[in-house]
Symmetry: C2
Subunit: 251 residues, 2 copies
């Protein structure tokens, strides 16, 4: 069992690279933090290194499922942590190869979403609502960002999260005969007037600009959520939640 | 026109007290920050002091609507701000006297909600969904907290936000013949099976513990949102959004 006491250790420098999008893309690895997320990553079977502060106890089953167990000093935990008070539990995980092909089903498509908390919450809600996957278009915040991971509450390990161009995704969904619905404020129907047909590609757009016009042009329908009071808009994650549950599988 | 250049000025000390719940309760005033919120407060006609950093221009109509206009140095703006990069626009506002009596209508009741962002987002969503008011039970985070105010996006100035005991609120609603629905995981129906009857008292509970059992006992019905995937739960503000829109007025 390795122990690392210095923040200047070469391994710590490698870990710190995983806090940047560039470092994650180069290594195809990412860092998760906190008991709950690490537990979900263990279950998903993607842990390469389990990293725990020396005073922290973790279940034996976690150790068996990690290729490597490394203990660290508190100073190292502080360097790795992106929370205010760290639990001292981390794991280096491997990104899954994206071999999934889209199948007929329910997908949430994210067009240039910027807020990590929103994106993570949307992935969590898509999981809860029984959707089959989330498609992350170019320009949406990196889903391996620590704030996104935290907000997914582990759902990122439960359902396929697929990075691909939304043009391509819409084309694939159309070939599968799936209805693609864009959210838009103009030339759109109240979402309650759109039937829950089973399979759907639901596109949520950028917090300020909405779905790109060139994507809306490829949609089979457009819907909006009526605002009845004096609020100007809904929080993006709340709006996504309302729509996801409207188009969720019915028991 | 007053100008304040020192963070040690007595007036700044008074303003800083408004950053605490105690200070707000004692003075029945609160501080709002940022162009959008201050604009909404101006419209609501509750601004006592308009406070702007000396380099910031604000519309003349704002100045007319504020009892006092005070310019400040950047150092003072930094002391007052609870954001990372401040716009340098603040206002001291007066809390409205709560004289509203509940009427037959749609109300969201919050039982011991702890997360300021959740509470603010719920107020915003209740406004958007066309609810008539939000009732804040004892033990819910102070709605004049800066994070709550920010998350409401101004909706706190649009619809009645009433601080009262939920026991009393449920009793009042019952006297008005309003159906009171508690959210609960056990002995509950899927929310989609609960009819939208018009008037409703919808109770959302603490993020971890849910609605208190003694309140559930007083409810006319209990509902839950089905979780179909592997997610353990929904974000509280998302859950509230799904329910608020299910029970929203229909055009």
């Amino acid at each position: 069992m390795k122990h690392i006491s210095s923040t200047k250790n070469e391994i710590v420098k490698q870990w710190k690279k995983l806090l940047t999008k560039k470092g994650r893309l180069q290594t195809k690895r990412f860092l998760v933090e906190g008991e709950h997320l690490v537990e979900e990553a263990v279950r998903a079977g993607i842990i390469k290194e389990l990293i725990v502060r020396e005073d922290v106890q973790v279940p034996g089953s976690w150790k068996k499922n990690a290729a490597d167990l490394i203990t660290i000093d508190e100073s190292v935990a502080k360097v790795l942590s992106e929370t205010e008070t760290t639990q001292g539990i981390f794991a280096v995980c491997e990104m899954k190869e994206q071999t999934e092909r889209l199948e007929r089903g329910r997908y949430l498509l994210l067009d240039r979403l910027q807020d990590p908390g929103n994106v993570g919450t949307m992935i969590r809600t898509a999981d809860a609502a029984g959707f089959d996957g989330v498609i992350i278009g170019h320009g949406t915040v990196d889903v391996y960002n620590s704030k996104v991971l935290r907000a997914t509450q582990g759902s990122i390990f439960h359902l396929p999260v697929i990075m691909m161009s939304l043009d391509e995704a819409i084309q694939d969904l159309h070939e599968l005969g799936v209805f693609v619905l864009g959210t838009a404020l103009r030339n759109a129907n109240p979402y309650t007037e759109v039937e829950n047909l089973g399979a759907i590609g639901l596109i949520i757009g950028n917090e300020a600009q909405g779905v790109a016009p060139e994507l809306l042009d490829q949609c089979d329908g457009r819907a909006y959520i009526p605002i009845r009071g004096k609020a100007e808009s809904l929080n993006a994650a709340v709006a996504a939640g309302i729509l996801l549950y409207h188009f969720a599988p019915v028991d």
